[in-house]
């Protein structure tokens, strides 16, 4: 599903974020990317989203070589297959829970009947069926992250990319969010999660890829944080 082949990413100021990284991730896997700040976790996710291009090497997602995608149609299509979740939720404060999720479908041109069916369905799925008309600032951090997961999943992506999704949450809430991500994974979505959260990684017992200084230093199935 995801393949990085000898990927190196060097920024203009000569900082090497990734150094000859090769990673294969199969369909339906749940993978943790761990490592200290600056080890290359976020860079890897940005490469998968094609927000950046690698300096060398190749990136494949769902069989497509990202370097060959056109900005006008290829990249948007790629991103419709990738759900993304961030530490800071990235919700629009002036839109309700329903509108935040429907926005993701609206801007890719989905018809109203699809939106009206899928949005309540996914919000029910993440456990927010009763809060459709609330605004983000009326929700707890955990609930806001659920909205962002709903937004990421509403278009039924093949892959869910999560960048420190529990970074702003307390431990109990984090566990709830992990249960939800696990549930999303169980229905066939490949999940790639960059995290610092040792307790979570240890508890989940999933595949762990550890990056340090831009290199893969460990790739272990059913691993722990360190």
């Amino acid at each position: 599903m995801i393949s990085l082949q000898h990927v190196t990413k060097t920024y203009k100021n000569d900082v090497t974020a990734l150094d000859d990284v090769s990673i294969e991730i199969e369909k339906g896997e749940f993978v943790f990317l761990v490592g200290p700040s600056g080890s290359g976790k976020s860079s890897s996710l940005r490469l998968l989203l094609r927000e950046e291009d690698p300096s060398s090497g190749e990136v494949f997602v769902a069989g497509k070589n990202l370097a060959k995608l056109s900005t006008w149609s290829g990249v948007p299509k790629l991103r419709r297959n990738l759900g993304t979740v961030f530490q800071d939720f990235k919700l629009l404060q002036d839109k309700t829970v329903f509108e935040n999720v429907s926005f993701a479908l609206e801007v890719i041109g989905k018809p109203k009947h699809v939106i009206d069916q899928r949005v309540p369905e996914i919000l029910e799925y993440v456990g927010l069926g009763a809060k459709l008309n609330n605004y983000p600032d009326e929700l707890s951090g955990g609930e806001q992250q659920r909205v962002s997961i709903a937004r990421a999943c509403v278009n039924r992506p093949l892959v869910l990319l999560a960048d420190e999704p529990t970074g702003n949450l307390d431990p109990n809430t984090s566990v709830d969010i992990m249960r939800l991500l696990d549930k999303v994974n169980k229905i066939g979505t490949t999940v790639v999660m960059a995290t610092h959260d040792q307790a979570i990684v240890d508890a989940m017992r999933k595949r762990v890829i550890e990056l340090d200084n831009g290199k893969v230093v460990r790739d272990q199935s059913r691993g722990v944080y360190s």
């Binding site: 900005t71 948007p76 299509k77 629009l92 926005f103 993701a104 890719i108 018809p111 937004r151």
Partner: protein, 302 residues
């Protein structure tokens, strides 16, 4: 349908969001397009004056009413044979009368009491080389009498009018006026482009979070850009609408007032104002297009 609705909803909220700046852009576009239209209308007015006075020829040879048809064709042959002459056309009373009627079509009070039999017949001459005017005068035995008028000895010829210097002067004035106004219009159009581009940028900045999410969930470039393009287009076209309204108001309240005092002049008609509308709209679309390209360059690429 839903898509169209989406675009217009986004556009409306964009214009509402930065109202004063959008207002500035609309006003600049308005002034720019108004000057542009004014320049076109002045050019049109000068053309009408030239046509009225000279009938679009450099030399008019007025003929005696009693002239015989064979004399006319003989004169025509003589002039036609001169190397400096490009065209010679005979205009009879009816044609002269029709031309005047067409010219003053907007002001029937001037023309309706005039009988066609009072119009002179003439040969209307254009030169290939205006400096070789002497060829025509000597062929017809004409000598300057006063100003642009020449008296002629050739039988059947009443008099000759030399419109060359008049045409040159009028054209010079017209060119000066319209080039000046065009230059002003271009400066204002450039300002309009900058201001419209600026409102687009402000709008994009205000909505950078939405835009980043749109990109993330796979909205296409067009999906992201079109609301801004429509916003720029709406501002420019609104400016064009104001310019058109003010040109018509100027026509009705200034030009039509002058008409009673300038009886001898044909003035621009409503249809002439109508004729510049497409150009104003084309200019407005160009302003919006350039502003969109400039405003969104390297800002919104996926």
């Amino acid at each position: 349908m839903r898509r169209v609705e989406y675009y217009f909803r986004e556009t409306a909220s964009g214009i509402r969001r930065n109202g004063t700046i959008a207002f500035g852009a609309v006003m600049t576009a308005f002034i720019a397009l108004f000057l542009f239209g004014l320049a076109l209308l002045i050019r049109r007015e000068v053309d009408l004056v030239i046509e009225n006075i000279t009938g679009n020829v450099q030399i008019a040879v007025y003929l005696d009413d009693t002239i015989k048809p064979e004399t006319i064709s003989q004169l025509q042959e003589t002039i036609k044979a001169l190397p400096a002459v490009a065209t010679v056309d005979y205009e009879d009373q009816q044609a002269a009368c029709d031309r005047a009627k067409a010219l003053f079509a907007g002001r029937p009070e001037i023309i309706e009491n005039v009988s066609c039999s009072t119009f002179p017949t003439s040969l209307r001459v254009n030169l290939k080389d205006t400096s070789q005017f002497g060829q025509v005068t000597s062929a017809l035995g004409c000598q300057q009498s006063e100003g642009a008028k020449l008296d002629c000895t050739s039988p059947g010829v009443l008099e000759m009018w030399d419109y060359r210097s008049f045409l040159d002067r009028l054209n010079a004035i017209a060119t000066f006026l319209s080039v000046g106004l065009f230059a002003l219009a271009v400066i204002m159009l450039v300002s309009a482009v900058v201001l419209v581009a600026n409102t687009l940028r402000m709008g994009m900045f205000a909505r950078r979070k939405e835009i980043s999410i749109m990109r993330l969930v796979g909205a296409t470039n067009w999906r992201i850009r079109v609301p801004f393009l429509i916003e720029g287009g709406a501002e420019a076209l609104f400016g064009a609408g104001l310019a058109i309204v003010f040109l018509f108001l100027g026509k009705v309240f200034l030009v039509d007032q002058l008409a009673s005092q300038l009886l001898w002049l044909p003035l621009v008609r409503n249809s002439d104002v109508l004729g510049v509308l497409p150009w104003i709209i084309i200019a407005a679309v160009a302003v919006a297009g350039v502003a969109g390209t400039v405003g969104m360059r390297r800002y919104l690429d996926v």
